[in-house]
Symmetry: C2
Subunit: 210 residues, 2 copies
């Protein structure tokens, strides 16, 4: 990754705004900086310095740090915004809405792109670590907060929800496990939606059984 | 894979039973035959022919076809037997027992071996396809049958159970997603156990909601 920054440096001077090489240089610098410092530790200022451009130019090309991060991981869909919409509608029926979002996204023309993206992400440990940070900080956190779930329950409920959502995605859309694939979208949404609703809003069972 | 069989052929004659090369030759032949014909299509007879040995020798070294398959995929634990034990104890409390099995296996000294095995399995498409067939035919099928769940519900319930179990394994033990890792084993067993119980034995919600 530092090599990528190195390579882009000779091209960084005398470029007009709008030059695709500048965009690439910023993206390379952002990937290297996020990888070295983590999502929270990397700032637009440091990324701009690594790319040899003004921070304003980074904002001009990519908007916020969140948006820049999304660009570096090539996520083919704006999941944070979709998820925020589902959380903003409140706790009633949130489980079924969330399950419906998974099915509608993964059974759309976006699915092959998303599957390729997720396979790549799972195979690259450094990239996976960044995505994990981002998902927790910018997706799960705001989502559970929007539903009004207080800490410390928020983390516990988020963990349960993630375990079920990731299982649906991996078993149905990456591994094509036969019994999971055979469920209709409606059956999946009804049952998994009920589980997600329970994980998010219903009383949690006492722990401590064997 | 056919190359592997080819390589073992010169070594197949004049070997004493108990020769490690014979064992390896049978394993190589089994992997190639399972890969070419699938789990159901491969027979001990065909595997023995591919290895150039008597079928009785295959049984002598590896037992049943199930056991031979388990040896070819190097599964570091006899999951079919563990799962059968949980199913045999009947439907009451089966969800918590099943969740407890996952946690106890994946939080034991076997965990690194299992994680390495699963990562390899997920990365190799042909191997993953065989494991899928085996899991469905020899683990999920007998388990749901032992609980007395009739078809066609059996497949639907199995799909839901697999989606939750795989999600726990991938999110907690492969990806180490922070909120999932933060759950205590007891919290996980209580909540996921409740979900698995619902998926296995409680009335399924009507499908058809949006």
């Amino acid at each position: 990754m530092p090599g990528a920054v190195e390579r882009t440096r000779p091209a960084r001077t005398g470029r007009r705004p709008g030059n695709p090489d500048t965009r690439t240089a910023i993206l390379d610098a952002a990937r290297a900086t996020f990888a070295a410092s983590g999502f929270d530790g990397a700032s637009i200022r440091r990324i701009a310095a690594a790319a040899g451009v003004d921070p304003a130019l980074v904002h001009h090309y990519f908007g916020t740090k969140d948006e820049l991060f999304l660009a570096t991981i090539d996520l083919p869909i704006d999941l944070p915004t979709l998820l925020a919409g589902i959380g903003a509608a409140g706790p009633d029926g949130v489980g079924v809405r969330l399950a419906g979002l998974i099915v509608s996204v993964w059974e759309s023309p976006m699915a092959p792109g998303l599957a390729g993206w997720l396979r790549t992400a799972l195979a690259d440990e450094q990239r996976a670590a960044l995505i994990r940070q981002f998902v927790v900080a910018r997706m799960v956190g705001p989502f559970t907060a929007a539903l009004g779930i207080p800490e410390p329950e928020r983390t516990r409920r988020a963990g349960l929800v993630m375990s079920q959502i990731l299982g649906v995605i991996v078993s149905r859309y990456l591994l094509f496990l036969d019994p999971v694939v055979q469920l209709t979208g409606e059956q999946l949404i009804a049952s998994v939606g009920q589980t997600l609703q329970r994980y998010l809003t219903e009383p949690l069972p006492p722990a401590g059984r064997p």
